[in-house]
């Protein structure tokens, strides 16, 4: 006859084994979290350190281009302009990585001021006008009269708008149309909102990629031979900035038929 408690032994053993497994998993999770924090810290440090020599490169090239050390001919100036724009592109990418790292470490904060969306749209359009002209595109701006001012982090919202506009320009063929509209947004439980739309007649985005493009490091074409380059962080950062303000960002698009990006911002003081 079997011992009456024999069946309990394996049960207790299994319980002990499970408890040991749980402990092991908790240790591994904690280790992974530490590694993640270290990686984020590394990204933050390295991008910060990359900016310093890059700034020096740009300054030296600008000193030469502006003829401060003597006259340069047109071809020399073109070459220097190439160094400067390449370095600026690199500096922007490094800046995006730094912003991402700060976001991942929850170090992003809002520095709010009061401004009108008109002024901000005008500022971002002015920067992009030469590029629009170069690609033979048209840029239309339509702002609903009487929109309330925003109390928001101007630099962050400018970054969102600039990112959406530069994407629109980049992914729209020469001769295409790009537009920015601002209007009264939907009423939410936190009050009224402003809705900004950045649209284009460009290559569009397949429906299955509408969420993917807002993810960190995601690119629709991630292959090495892809024709559009960047950190893949632009839209992820835009989403982070908009959500920090309590707003929403999304895209409506069909492949081959242009894209419309929208974001909302609470009007007035954020709570």
């Amino acid at each position: 006859m079997a011992h009456p408690y024999a069946h309990k032994l394996p049960l207790e053993e299994r319980l002990a084994a499970l408890q040991e497994q749980n402990l092991q998993l908790a240790r591994e999770l904690s280790e992974l979290r530490n590694q993640e924090a270290l990686k984020t810290q590394f990204l933050s440090n390295i991008s910060h350190d990359l900016r310093t020599p890059l700034t020096a490169v740009i300054t030296h090239a600008e000193i030469l281009r502006d003829g401060i050390l003597g006259t340069v001919n047109e071809r020399q100036r073109d070459s220097l302009s190439g160094i400067i724009s390449g370095s600026r592109q690199l500096l922007n990418m490094v800046g995006e990585i730094l912003t991402y790292a700060r976001g991942a470490a929850n170090q992003l904060t809002l520095t709010c001021s009061t401004f009108t969306i008109d002024a901000l749209i005008e500022q971002v359009c002015a920067v992009n006008e030469p590029l629009i002209a170069k690609k033979g595109q048209t840029l239309a701006v339509d702002i609903e009269p009487g929109l309330p001012p925003l109390s928001a982090d101007r630099e962050q919202i400018a970054h969102v708008l600039a990112n959406l506009l530069s994407n629109a320009i980049e992914f729209t063929p020469p001769g295409g149309r790009v537009w920015i509209n601002a209007s009264t947004g939907p009423l939410t439980e936190r009050g009224s909102t402003i809705l900004v739309e950045v649209g284009d007649t460009g290559i569009g985005i397949a429906v299955e990629h509408h969420e993917l493009i807002f993810r960190e490091f995601a690119q629709v074409d991630a292959s090495a031979s892809r024709s559009h380059h960047g950190t893949g962080l632009g839209l992820a950062i835009a989403r982070k900035f908009v959500e920090l303000h309590g707003g929403r960002i999304w895209v409506e698009s069909t492949l081959g038929q242009g894209s419309r990006f929208y974001f909302t911002l609470p009007a007035g003081t954020p709570t």
Binding site: R51, P53, L54, T55, A56, H60, I63, I68
Partner: protein, 125 residues
């Protein structure tokens, strides 16, 4: 006319090299320092009109330079803080410490020569 003196307090030799070239070519006399100690010595020796002060000097705070000079009544006419942190608290701290302005990195170096001239021509200086 005596050339206005600029003290660059910055721990990156690369950045100092670029800014020195730019400012000297724009007619300023430039000295530089990479640590708090060097900066205090340079300021006491050269009595700069303008100090461009990086807030992060390896493991030291750039504001210590200004605090020490201010205590000895040797602060330059104009001190401009340079920082990578665009935060209101940092800005307030700099202005309270006696900085005229705070520039957020990456700064626009090509605008510096004109900015310095403007700061120096300001009667509040």
């Amino acid at each position: 006319m005596v050339r206005a003196r600029v003290l660059l307090v910055e721990d990156s030799a690369l950045v100092v090299g670029a800014l020195r070239l730019l400012l000297e070519e724009s007619g300023y006399s430039v000295t530089s320092a990479a640590t708090v100690r060097e900066a205090i010595d340079a300021a006491e020796r050269d009595a700069p009109d303008v100090m461009l002060l990086d807030l992060t000097l390896r493991n030291e705070s750039g504001l210590d330079v200004l605090a020490s000079l201010a205590a000895a009544h040797r602060a330059p006419r104009v001190t401009i803080a340079l920082t990578g942190h665009d935060e209101p608290a940092v800005r307030e701290q700099c202005l309270r410490a006696g900085c005229r302005d705070v520039l957020i990195k990456p700064i626009q170096p090509m605008e510096l020569p004109t900015q310095i001239a403007t700061w120096l021509s300001d009667p509040a200086a």
